[in-house]
């Protein structure tokens, strides 16, 4: 067990509480840097998606995890970022310019969504953001002169400072990684300064925040704007990675995936966004595996236990039919959300903290350490 002796106010401010962090994050960074030279192109592509999803996850964490404003509209912000990039590309705008423009525009639209959201809380805010996402989806489909409607838009290969960066090149991966790292560092900076604390204050008690001098409306709008802007940046990378965008890519399901990212990862820490992104990106190959290999495997097992070839074939086709059911992905998402909310509200990162503490305190760990204690119920009078 390590004891930290703080001797300076710096100790509370710095990003890494002790030197151990430099080692672990250094190793992680080194692994990420050598990844493109080691991993297969398929895994690299998945890793790029992890970076993009994690960036959106961090953005959603700022809004939902830290400011307490739920949003099911982040697919729309991603779409706005992606379409801005694709549209500006038509006029040969260089990458840095349309990258910033996409983030800026999405941020402004995010702030505009934030204003009506000021009067809404909880489930009503969720419905408002869903409506916003549906509106954006519809606009993308109908505003054909700009978005090319349902036919979608091609996104040209990224060219940065005169060098073309194909979407499966290591350079593109490093670009996504850099955006993710910058987002995380920026968010951490925010969280250790007055704005971040105001966000958390709004989440926990608007009344108290207001009486401490926090302009609740302004900070909610700020939170929406920052979250949307980051999602817009991610949208540009998303568009380049897919090289083709159309309205049906930015549906409600994508917004739900982003919610799952932070819910599964853990809503109280940025680690959660990354863990959740890894989870959500790897669920697709898992489902493919379920579809392709699972039926044969189960039939094989059945055959070993004495089922005849006819029965085995029957089992195989039944399982195959089940695994390729249309709504299976959505159903699995639903089950995952329910199970996590019920049994692991702190998410994967919370579980990791528990495991870490278990070994730090071994053999003194108590099972009740992370039990939530409700000592008294707060009055609702001032709401």
């Amino acid at each position: 067990m390590r004891f930290l002796f703080k001797t300076d106010y710096e100790d509370d401010i710095k990003l890494f509480p002790h030197s151990g962090y430099y080692v672990s994050y250094g190793v992680l960074l080194a692994l990420l840097v050598i990844a493109p030279f080691v991993l297969s192109s398929y895994l690299m592509s998945q890793l790029v998606f992890v970076c993009i999803y994690a960036t959106v996850g961090v953005a959603l964490l700022i809004l939902t995890g830290f400011t307490g404003q739920a949003s099911l509209g982040h697919a729309a912000f991603l779409a706005i970022g992606a379409y801005t990039a694709a549209y500006l590309q038509k006029y040969n705008v260089p990458f840095p310019v349309y990258f910033l423009a996409a983030g800026g525009l999405t941020g402004i639209i995010g702030a505009m969504v934030g204003f009506p959201a000021l009067r809404l809380t909880g489930i009503y805010l969720v419905i408002a953001t869903i409506s916003f996402a549906l509106i954006v989806e519809e606009i993308l489909a109908r505003w054909e002169s700009v978005t090319n409607g349902n036919e979608g838009m091609r996104v040209k290969t990224l060219s940065l400072l005169g060098v073309t960066v194909p979407r499966d090149s290591p350079t593109f991966y490093f670009l996504c990684l850099a955006v993710l790292v910058l987002t995380i560092v920026g968010t951490l900076n925010l969280l250790r300064s007055p704005t971040g604390r105001a966000f958390v204050a709004i989440r926990d008690s608007e009344t108290a925040a207001r009486s401490m001098g926090v302009n609740v409306a302004l900070y909610k709008v700020k939170s929406f704007a920052i979250s949307a802007a980051i999602t817009g940046f991610a949208g540009v990378l998303f568009a380049h990675k897919l090289s083709f965008i159309s309205p049906e890519m930015f549906t409600l399901q994508l917004s739900i995936e982003f919610i799952i990212v932070i819910l599964i990862g853990g809503t109280f820490s940025l680690h959660g966004a990354v863990l959740g992104a890894i989870f959500i990106v790897m669920i697709d190959p898992f489902l493919t595996y379920l579809k392709d290999d699972m039926p044969g495997m189960i039939a094989g097992v059945a055959a070993t236990f004495g089922a005849g070839p006819a029965t085995a074939g029957n089992i195989k086709s039944t399982v195959a039919a089940f695994a390729s059911l249309n709504g299976l992905k959505g159903a699995i998402y639903g089950i995952i959300i329910v199970l996590f909310v019920l049994f692991e509200p702190l998410g994967l990162y919370g579980r990791w903290l528990k495991i870490k503490l278990f070994f730090q305190l071994f053999p003194l760990y108590k099972r009740a350490t992370f039990k939530r204690q409700k000592i008294y119920v707060k009055s609702e009078r001032n709401r």
Partner: protein, 252 residues
């Protein structure tokens, strides 16, 4: 002119007059207690001052400035801090970050500076930390500095609320039942701190309180309310012997 002044302050909920034409003044550096039976309108007055409610009529002045129309977040910026009867802390944050939110009115940095965590932000943070540390020392909160609020007992939370209010370096502090839910020992501590706040930090205190022994020990003056109206005003002893106050508490 007095330091803080409420003139004909009224708050009506439909036909119910929660606060009815209440006028009073607080002098600089005094401790003024508001007492009264349940539902007398004590907390409503606090909520009017901190602009959680909008007064039906009447004006509020602080340092000769009319603050009746100020938005709620500007009240804190003017130097009026408050605590809540039913504790409104930021549950899922540490004591330290709760107290740092109290420093919010002194933060001067811009969003883009904070995103980059420029040296100016860092310097500001250190100033905030130092001020917070002074309050922690003043209220003996050292053992709880890095603890989450959600794990702390009620008595400690009460002190942390006071600490958060003090971190904003207020000129006027509104204490809504500082001793409710505290045991005798904790109430004693609270009374020392309230007097120290006045003498060492020079804070003016306006306090709603039910515990008469605490009121007697710390107050310079007392106002008694019932049904939203002022019954009596004066020294603690005077108010307690006032026939209307006795009638309000014991029944005529």
């Amino acid at each position: 002119m007095s330091y803080f002044r409420a003139e004909n302050l009224s708050l009506h909920f439909g036909g119910l007059k929660a606060v009815d034409a209440v006028s009073f003044a607080v002098e600089r550096g005094e401790i003024l207690s508001i007492i009264g039976p349940n539902g007398a309108g004590k907390s409503s007055i606090f909520n009017l001052i901190s602009r959680i409610y909008r007064p039906t009529s009447g004006r509020i002045f602080f340092e000769d400035q009319d603050i009746t129309e100020e938005p709620p977040y500007d009240i804190a910026r003017l130097g009026i801090a408050r605590t809540f009867q039913n504790i409104e802390l930021f549950e899922n944050a540490t004591v330290l970050s709760n107290l740092l939110v109290g420093r919010h009115r002194h933060s001067t940095t811009q969003l883009w500076q904070e995103l980059l965590f420029l040296p100016s932000v860092r310097a500001n943070e250190k100033v905030h930390r130092r001020r917070v540390e002074q309050v922690i020392e003043f209220l003996d909160l050292e053992p709880y500095r890095d603890k989450l609020i959600s794990g702390l007992p009620y008595g400690v939370r009460k002190v942390i609320e006071l600490a958060r209010a003090l971190c904003s370096e207020p000129k006027l502090i509104l204490l809504d039942e500082p001793s409710s839910g505290l045991n005798v020992e904790e109430t004693d501590d609270m009374s020392f701190w309230i007097r120290d706040m006045k003498s060492e930090l020079g804070v003016t205190v306006l306090m709603v309180e039910h515990d008469m022994s605490l009121v007697n020990r710390v107050s310079d003056r007392v106002i008694a309310l019932n049904y939203g109206r002022v019954l009596a005003m004066g020294s603690p002893a005077e108010v307690q012997q006032h026939p209307d106050v006795v009638a309000a508490y014991l029944g005529a």
